[in-house]
Amino acid sequence: MGFYSLAKPLTLAAAILAAGTATALEPTEGEVLLTVTGEIGATNSGQAAEFDLPLLETLGTVVIETSTIWTDGLQTFEGVELVDLLDAIMAEGSSLRAIAHNDYAVDIPIADAIEGGPIIAFLRNGELMGLRDKGPLWLIYPFDSSPEYQSETIYSRSIWQLDRIEVLP
């Protein structure tokens, strides 16, 4: 399992700039993969923050190697750490409601978003994930790194086909 930062300093800089204007988030150009609403300080589409793949990539990505209970064998996931995403949108809530394309919804405490914690993955084994492969976004916890991530609660929060997030106060 490994972590490595790609563009974190840039993301931080952007986040700091955005803090002042409240609309510092870049507008999206491609297909919107994730929409974040609720108690957030940075938006790029009305009250929401929308992310396409390039915008997500600007937040810096990390790679997690882990097995999951739904897949066979060790998997490599790459994506944005949840904490980075929430920082980027200046989220101010206590929990998140994540909702999937298949209308699955689950509440995730903000406290879960820590460094070395869950990521919003868009690459699995180096490939983008389609809707048929639980993509395009899958919230992945580093299950193998700690027994604490091997509980049914964590499994239920590991939402695939992630579509949108509401930051709850």
């Binding site: 298949n102 639980k134 027994p147 509980s151 049914e152 695939w160």
Partner: protein, 826 residues
């Protein structure tokens, strides 16, 4: 086990599934979502800008769900179910079939919607099957898992219980050990305290030292005895502190020897007496015992030391006291011996002089006084003799003779000797001798007589107007004779019976004074009887009389296989003695009074007396003149009696022997032997009495050793005493037989001798005949006849011619003697 439990715990802690049933059921929901989207697209055909987009999305979601069912390990249990697997295959076929349509252009998709709808409806039953079978399979798995967990838990609980039980047992054991340890510690503490108390309160010094001799323990008794404080002593070498300088080398050697060879000389050898030194340097005797013990720090030596200065001093005092006592006893014995001599000598003079006084010339008053003086003198002499006897027996100087004697004669003579005394007090004497044919026995007649005389004397003393019986009886089957002295006198109180044999015991002082006595008589009796291996006992009833019983082992002569020898005539006690023919006598005596007494006594009987004042003078006189007999005092200055006698015997020629008689105040048996060896023929015990002197002279005048001048007109025909003795020794019938044959033989002998003389046939035949007849006459106490016959024989030996009248004189003497014999009443 631990691994299994931890695995179980791991499996529970890390969920390997999310809500599987929900995921399964989602397949149904998502298929319905697709069908719904298709129907919507069909209804809103053409109105919506892109109505098939939602169809695609729903298809993809369903597809995604299928992927999960197909590949996720979560559903492997579902996939094992054949019907579910078949249904899944059909679902896969449906999805794969539809993918080209879904991925086609919108128009194509739209055209294919009815077909898609129809296929979706078809597949619904399969999805349902997967869901239902899957739920069932998952439920089974869940059950199995649960029961697995349950059994694991119950196993764990059993293990836990076992562990708990084990722990309880361990705890109990631990508690037990703790308790035991505590008890032991307590006991050890107690023991140590007790030991400490013992050591500190011990009266003996206790010193513990290590193998280097350094002191490890020093108790309070040791502090007292040696004067060192405990702190002073601890750690210091023992030999510096308490071993005296002159023992130090030996002590060091002993320690070295023990440590190198293990040889123990003092250690574990019990009490040893040594010397020790205290702090002040005083050396004192101690009793010591050392033992060794092994300890953690090596061998230690425990010494118990007792100061025995006092004991040693006491022992020394005791020894000194004993030495003093022994010396005192010896001084007493010496004093008594000297005293007896010193007292007896003047007494002899007194009593002898009394004998010289011719009472016929005295007035009755004076005679009475003289009798009193004589009686007192004899009483005093008796007391002195008693004390002497006592001291002699006490000092072990008593020696017992072993000679044959007649029991019967002894008893009868005893009775006779006391008859007058007894009659004086109105007492009748009787005796009974029951000894069968064993009359002659071997023993010490003098001592037995002394014992019986003492008992008889007592009986007479304490009986008045009564009867006293003396009995002798040989006990059946025993080589012992029992003597009994029985009286009907005043008797002895029961409480005094044991006491009477003690020395100086007189029961009733007033009475004793009346009868006289030293209180030593029975003490002497007891000692004599004991010396003869006999025993004495007494039975008495106060007021009725007493019985003294003496048992003495006496072998009979017949039992010893010896011929009975004729009883010796007891010179001292013969009642009468004839006056023998005048003799020339030498007295060797240093004491003037004794000389006077002796000379006068002898001269009154017609003898010629010469004197010598010591042994040397005696020897010279014998050398110059010839004597018929010599009376020789024993203890004299210049040359004593024994030496003088020896000198005389040396000078004597062969074939001649001058009779020498010892004069002595007392003669122990050992003395008698000494006297005989020196050449003394007999002993005359002082005080000299006329009777004793006459008996002695009669004995030697009768002897064949020297010539006796026959007394022609010897008036004494018969010696009654001799006849009485013969009678008692032989028995009445035997005596009469013998007397008869004597008379016959003597008549013939006298006739033969007379004829020889008258015919002038003077030769050996006559001498033989006369000698033989003289022996027989002496035996029957025919003194006159004996004297005449001896004179005849002697004349022949000397070659002197016998007077012709001798024959007729012999006949006349024999005739008188014969008539005297026939008239005698035995």
């Amino acid at each position: 086990m631990g691994q299994q439990v931890s695995r179980e715990i791991d499996e529970l802690a890390t969920a390997n599934s999310d809500n599987t049933q929900w995921s399964l059921a989602q397949a149904d929901v998502e298929l319905l979502g697709l069908v719904d989207a298709i129907n919507d697209a069909l209804v809103t055909d053409g109105l919506e800008p892109n109505p098939v987009g939602e169809v695609r999305r729903r298809f993809d979601i369903l597809y995604s769900r299928f992927n999960i069912l197909q590949s996720s390990p979560l559903f492997s249990i579902v996939r094992q179910d054949p019907s579910a697997m078949a249904a899944l295959s059909r679902l896969e076929a449906f999805l794969e079939d539809m993918v080209p349509l879904i991925d086609a252009e919108d128009a194509q998709l739209r055209a294919g919607l009815p077909m898609l709808s129809a296929r979706a409806e078809q597949i619904r039953a399969d999805v349902r099957t997967v869901t239902i079978q899957g739920v069932a399979a998952l439920a089974r798995q869940s059950d199995e898992q649960r029961s697995g967990v349950a059994s694991t838990l119950s196993f764990v609980s059993r293990i836990t219980f076992a562990l708990f039980f084990f722990m309880v047992v361990l705890l109990a054991l631990l508690a037990h050990f703790v308790l035991r340890e505590r008890t032991r510690a307590y006991q050890e503490g107690q023991t140590r305290a007790r030991l400490g108390t013992i050591i500190s309160t011990s009266l003996d010094a206790i010193i513990v030292a290590d193998d280097q001799g350094r002191i490890l323990e020093f108790n309070s008794a040791a502090e007292n005895i040696f004067g060192y404080a405990r702190e002073e002593a601890l750690g210091n070498p023992m030999d510096d502190l308490i071993v005296p300088d002159h023992h130090r080398a030996a002590h060091a050697d002993g320690m070295r020897r023990y440590l190198s060879t293990g040889e123990k000389r003092v250690i574990d050898k019990g009490r040893v007496r040594l010397e020790a030194r205290n702090k002040l340097g005083r050396v004192f005797p101690v009793e010591l015992s050392i033992s060794s013990a092994e300890t953690r720090d090596g061998e230690v030596f425990i010494s118990y030391i007792r100061d025995i200065s006092h004991r040693v001093a006491a022992e020394r005092e005791l020894i000194e006291a004993r030495d003093e006592a022994v010396a005192g006893e010896k001084a007493k014995a010496d004093l008594i011996a000297v005293m007896s001599h010193e007292m007896r000598t003047p007494l002899n003079g007194m009593l002898g002089t009394l004998d010289l006084l011719d009472v016929r010339d005295r007035s009755p008053k004076e005679r009475e006084y003289l009798d009193i003086i004589r009686a007192s003198g004899r009483q005093l002499l008796y007391h002195v003799d008693t004390v002497l006897d006592m001291s002699r027996i006490e000092s072990g100087k008593i020696a017992l003779n072993k000679e044959p004697f007649s029991l019967d004669a002894l008893v009868r003579e005893l009775i006779e000797s006391q008859r007058i005394v007894a009659e004086h007090r109105g007492n009748a004497l009787a005796c009974r001798v029951m000894i069968g044919d064993q009359n002659t026995v071997v023993g010490d007649p003098i001592r037995i007589r002394q014992v019986l005389l003492n008992l008889l004397g007592n009986a007479i003393k304490f009986t008045r107007n009564g009867t006293i019986l003396v009995e002798a009886e040989r006990l059946d089957g025993l080589e012992a004779v029992e003597f009994r002295v029985i009286d009907d006198g005043i008797g002895i109180d029961g409480s005094d019976l044991e006491r009477i044999f003690e020395d100086f015991v007189t029961l009733d002082t007033s009475y004793t004074r009346a009868v006289g006595g030293t209180g030593l008589g029975l003490g002497i009796v007891r000692r004599l009887v004991k010396a003869m291996d006999g025993e004495i006992c007494v039975e008495s009833v106060k007021g009725k009389g007493s019985l003294f019983r003496v048992r003495i082992p006496l072998e009979s002569v017949t039992a010893m296989g010896l011929p009975p020898s004729p009883p010796e005539s007891t010179v001292e006690y013969s009642t009468d003695a004839a006056v023998v023919a005048p003799m020339k006598i030498l007295i060797v005596e240093d004491n003037r009074i004794n000389r006077i007494v002796l000379r006068d006594l002898l001269e009154q009987d017609g003898h010629t007396v010469d004197e010598a004042h010591n042994g040397q003078q005696g020897v010279e006189k014998v050398d110059k003149a010839s004597y018929d007999i010599v009376f020789m005092d024993i203890s004299m200055p210049v040359l004593d009696g024994v030496e003088a006698t020896r000198a005389i015997r040396l000078a004597e020629g062969r074939g001649t022997r001058l009779p020498i008689v010892a004069l002595t105040a007392h003669a122990a048996d050992s003395d008698k032997e000494r006297f005989r060896a020196a050449g003394l023929d007999d002993i005359l015990v002082k005080p000299i009495s006329r009777r004793g002197l006459r008996s002695m002279l009669a004995r030697f005048s009768r002897g064949p050793h020297w010539s006796a001048i026959a007394t022609p007109n010897s008036t004494i025909l018969l010696d009654d005493t001799q006849l009485k003795e013969l009678n008692s020794a032989l028995g009445r019938s035997k005596f009469s037989d013998l007397l008869a044959s004597f008379c016959n033989e003597m008549a013939e002998s006298v006739e033969a001798v007379a004829s020889f003389i008258e015919r002038g046939e003077i030769g050996p035949e006559l001498a033989n005949e006369a000698h033989h007849a003289a022996g027989s006459a002496a035996m029957f106490g025919a003194l006159a006849l004996h004297g005449e016959l001896v004179a005849v024989e002697d004349a022949i030996h000397r070659g002197v011619h016998n007077d012709i009248t001798t024959g007729s004189r012999l006949r006349s003497i024999w005739s008188d003697t014969e008539s005297a014999l026939s008239s005698i009443k035995i």
